[in-house]
């Protein structure tokens, strides 16, 4: 457990969740790329239904 002073604790509670935003941006990019791969790489390459 970190031993933070009251000022440091206040600073943490008032800070922006930059790490969270970073993780979510990575997730969003990975999801979009994954979806595009599924659509262009797998779905369209199946070709028309015969």
């Amino acid at each position: 457990m970190g031993d933070l002073s009251p000022e440091e604790e206040k600073k943490v509670l008032e800070s922006s969740p930059k790490g969270t935003m970073t993780l979510l941006i990575i997730f969003a990019i990975a999801t979009i790329l994954g979806w595009l791969y599924m659509y262009f790489g797998m779905f369209l390459t199946h070709g028309p239904v015969n």
């Binding site: 457990m1 970190g2 031993d3 933070l4 604790e9 943490v12 509670l13 800070s15 969740p17 930059k18 790490g19 969270t20 970073t22 993780l23 979510l24 997730f27 990975a30 999801t31 994954g34 979806w35 599924m38 659509y39 797998m42 779905f43 199946h46």
Partner: protein, 552 residues
Amino acid sequence: MATTTASMQENLSESKGQHSVSLGLANFWVAMIFLVVALILGVYQVAERSGFFPALESPTLYFASVSTHGVLMGFVLTTFMIMGFGYYAATTSLKMSLPGKGFAWFGFWLALVGVLIAAVPLLTGNASVLYTFYPPLVAHPAFYIGATLLVVGSWVWCIEMIWMMMIWKKQHPGEAVPLVHFGNTANAVMWLWTTIGVASEMLFQLIPWSLGLLETVDVGLARTLFSWTLHAIVYFWLFPAYIALYTIMPKAIGGKLFSDEMGRIAFVMLLVFSVPIGFHHLYMDPFHQAGWKFVHMFGTFMVALPTLFTGFTVIASMEIAGRLRGGKGLLGWIGALPWKEPMMAASGLAMIMLAFGGFGGMVNASYSLNTMVHNTQWVTGHFHLIFGGTVVVMYCAILYHMFPRMLGRQLYSKSMAVKQLWLWTIGMFVLTIPWHVIGVLGQPRRISSTPYDTPLVQQWDVHEGAMIVGGALLLLSGLMLVWNLLKTHSAPQEASAMEYAEPIHAAPRVPHLLNSFAFWNVVILIYIVASYGYPIAQFFLNPTFGATPWGV
């Protein structure tokens, strides 16, 4: 003075949720017993389907097993877990006793009797309808009657949750309903709305049809009514997991909830958006026009919003806790989190599985991509990852958190709990990644064997083998869970109160729309009529053809 002391004792008792302990424990144990049964059946199924063990091969037994496994996991484990969680969370968060406790017990017994009635045809192979309500597959009437009693039992829980919220609000005018109970009530309201579909199908179609009172049944109408319930049920399962992530996890890891309002908004959005999205299960059905399916695709994608809100708020709450524990840098707080706490481990693992499962869900929801994965093992892999992964791992964390507090004892082994959660997650990935892959490779779902000697089928072998390993890991993990909780009944005594996370900015009052469901009920009604009105009405306006029973 004596009155004051008695009142204090009463308050203390209420804060510990003593009024709901026996009811909560009864619900939890029913859930766990059936979880173990379902896990055993699951291992048998992956082994049978692999074709590696000819002695096991029996389509009759396989489909009876799949039907029982699905009912136990999807309807029984979930309903009893949700009821147990709701009752204990309600009494401890609202600090009030359970009104109509006898009524709540009646709901429990009604649901349990329903399960036992349904179990007879399931276990005797007379309800091998793959845990669905899709005619012309027909089951023995006892299956439908038993399932209906289970749902009616869950309605008692819904009434209790709404009733408690009303009493609390009357006693605390203008105050914000605690987030944990706001979430549970949102789930209850959502469940009441969404079970209208399957209840109508049961009462007006399947039960009279299976009893021979009707000669034929309109398959298109039945499938449409079932879809009304079919996907929102996932959010019924998911609600307790989300509630625990918002209200229990931040406190358990020494932090605070990033935002109480975000939680309320997410719960309201889940409530409103989740009911009509089951229509995407009908993308490949010929009964509905492409335009309706296309419109419903957008409705289905809307449900990603509350999930993203939840992802942000929950991870931000973790970040706060990690930084309060001394974590530095952009992502250094992750390592500072208390990963040896079961609630922390489960929450982190649940979010990882939700990320992967959510991606699969976006593929399913896409009208075009759905044609590629429809009715393949991809779908089975997807719902196992979301339900068996995210939902069940959070159910485990809820049990580890609530059980010791309900019993006034220490958890038997915290380290075993954390190992069990990791084992469950690893097992789930080992099971579901191959499941997704063989789905894309073309293996249909709902099959008992693949007796084709072709290069395509041979490609599936390695994945089938991995799935057996995954299933075995999950069974082992499930047994560890039950053992740990069983031993907790005799662990050393230790009284700890059930406490919920405080938000960074506590707000005694919140906007009326985030503290009440009256307005949202009107919105849901309009949304349902707009999205399901014509698709259902067309079966009465246009000539349709009834189907005779097929199967039992």
